[in-house]
């Protein structure tokens, strides 16, 4: 191992690098071009989504394949509430709404374990999209909704704030009693129950917090496009991308998730074209298969292997 090149303490390096990155990101709107800002927006969005997704799926092991379901619900909720209340109030309101909905759904859905939960959550997108479409066609008689557009710099800054809050909360959860409870559930749910962890409440709470942050991020970014309909906000791409990033980063690893979100977002922005997005999608699918086959623990697994090879305790 080349000691001179690799820093001695990964955790310390991560935090120092994190602080610098956050500072640069916050002042970015003042110097960045529109194009660069657009790239940063995508990066921040996916960093946020992956971290929020990790709070449920990474920490408890319940594989959630329906990020787009909450993205969609939050999008519609924002379109409706933003008619009445200002942007900054609407964001937490939408977040709370997602929390309540997911907590209620979680009470039923999270009793289903293992692969069944993943499938049920996969179908959740289809369910929500159809119900929303039914409601819109029958009662509102509109096919889409228009949202007033805000400048990119505003949405970007707010989204960045939400993303940082998500990361901080995720770290706090991981280090808390609650977080240990979740990792017990991941390890062996029945045993966790016997040990005295309120398994049902812990799972629902993790689901709720996860959805809360997904909802906030969605509400923050929706005014960017200005128009939503069910195909835009319930896009399976959102679920898929988040899953790929989460798995490639390493399930339950916040830093791994953030890293892979940055890498993949750059990939989208640099190689993805609106005219022919399919090659990139195919590539991502193949990449996910390769990673799960050869590196089931993703980037985090690689980091851990490197650090443990140097006799340092993995963080």
């Amino acid at each position: 191992m080349r000691r001179a090149v690799i820093p001695t303490n990964t955790t310390k390096m991560t935090s120092i690098f994190g602080v610098i990155a956050v500072a640069v990101l916050f002042v970015a709107p003042s110097f960045a071009s529109r194009y660069l800002l657009q790239i940063l927006l995508t990066i921040v969005l996916y960093v946020q989504l992956v971290t929020a997704w990790n709070i449920l799926s990474g920490f408890t092991g319940y594989l959630f394949l329906g990020v787009a379901a909450f993205y969609g619900i939050a999008g519609y909720a924002y379109a409706i509430v933003s008619l009445e209340i200002p942007y900054f109030v609407a964001i937490p309101v939408v977040g709370m709404l997602c929390f309540v909905i997911s907590y209620a759904i979680g009470m039923v859905l999270l009793r289903i374990r293992g692969p069944y939960f993943a499938i049920a959550s996969y179908a959740l997108v289809l369910l929500f999209a159809n119900v929303v479409l039914y409601y819109e066609q029958t009662y509102s008689r509109v096919t889409g909704r228009v949202v007033s557009i805000l400048p990119v710099s505003t949405t970007y800054t707010v989204l960045l704030g939400v993303a940082i809050a998500t990361i901080v909360v995720a770290y706090l959860i991981k280090r808390s009693k609650f977080g240990y409870g979740l990792s017990y559930i991941k390890g062996n749910e029945d045993l966790a129950n016997v040990v005295g962890i309120n398994v049902a409440r812990y799972k629902c709470l993790a689901f709720g917090i996860s959805a809360f942050f997904i909802g906030m991020a969605t509400a923050a970014i929706i005014p960017r496009g200005g128009y939503i309909d069910t195909t835009v906000v319930f896009a399976p791409t959102i679920s898929f991308n988040t899953l790929v990033m989460g798995v490639v980063g390493g399930l339950g690893s916040i830093r791994g998730g953030v890293l892979s979100a940055v890498l993949f977002s750059l990939l989208f922005e640099l190689f993805g074209t609106r005219a022919n997005p399919y090659p990139l999608f195919v590539f991502m699918g193949v990449l996910l298969m390769v990673v799960i086959f050869y590196f089931p623990r993703g980037i985090e697994g690689v980091i851990a292997r490197v650090t443990s090879a140097r006799g340092e305790q993995a963080s």
């Binding site: 499938i119 049920a120 119900v131």
Partner: protein, 292 residues
Amino acid sequence: MLTTALDLAIGGIFLSSLYVLVAVGISLLYGVSQTINLAHGDFMIVGAYLAFMLITALGVVPTWTLIVVPILMGLLGLALYRAGGFSRILTRPISRGDREFTTMIMTFALAWVTSNLLAWIFTANVQAYPAPAGQLIIGDLVVPIRKLMTIVIAWPLIGVLGFMVKTTRIGLSIRCVFDDSEASKLMGIDVNRVHSIIFFLALLTAGLGGALFSMNFAFSPYLGTEFTILGIVVTIIGGIGSIKGALVGGLIVGLSESFVMFFISPLLKIAFIYTLFIAILLVRPVGLFRSM
């Protein structure tokens, strides 16, 4: 009124036959080979495109595609098992939970690859080809021949499959692996061969489903997801690994879909089936029929 009811019932049975074809594969793959195939619906759509290609590019008669497409898809299944990494995952010394997790993510990625590959090659537009014309008229009831063909081909085939699993020697080894893969290996059953057969059969039925589907409906690359989900719902209602269960589950889902779509709203069919799915999972997680 009676005509409407009959019409809906036939429509339901017709839909069921497609769902059963998808569900049987999912059920066998999960029950015997511990592979939760989230790409199964997409394989069906691949079958539809294969039929489309054979008919429009090579001028094959539509009826013949019902034989050629399933065989091609079955071979694809074999290739997937042998070269696609599934044989390695199934023999890895990892826990059942880890194995299911791995196969699920693998097939989720595969679904993504398949549908986007189709969109890349054929564009995302809706495709169709002229299906066998003609219809059967009984009183007020009008049934297109292609619908009847679907029913008449699908159900007996599933019957044969069920019979094969119940009576033949290969069927016996399939049932053994379903019960206990490790023990059957110790008893001298070639587990690898059983998995190959399962992958072959699963994609064969999916291919047939796709060929029949393309005969009845226009299709586009992203229709697979819905069929995957419905197929899994049917499987879980019926019980994993059970062919009889897939038949009954398929009938329940197909008929209720047909009636819900007519009496309530097409958009609420998913809501209805989803509720059914969750209810079954909570009340009777093993499904209606437990064993093969």
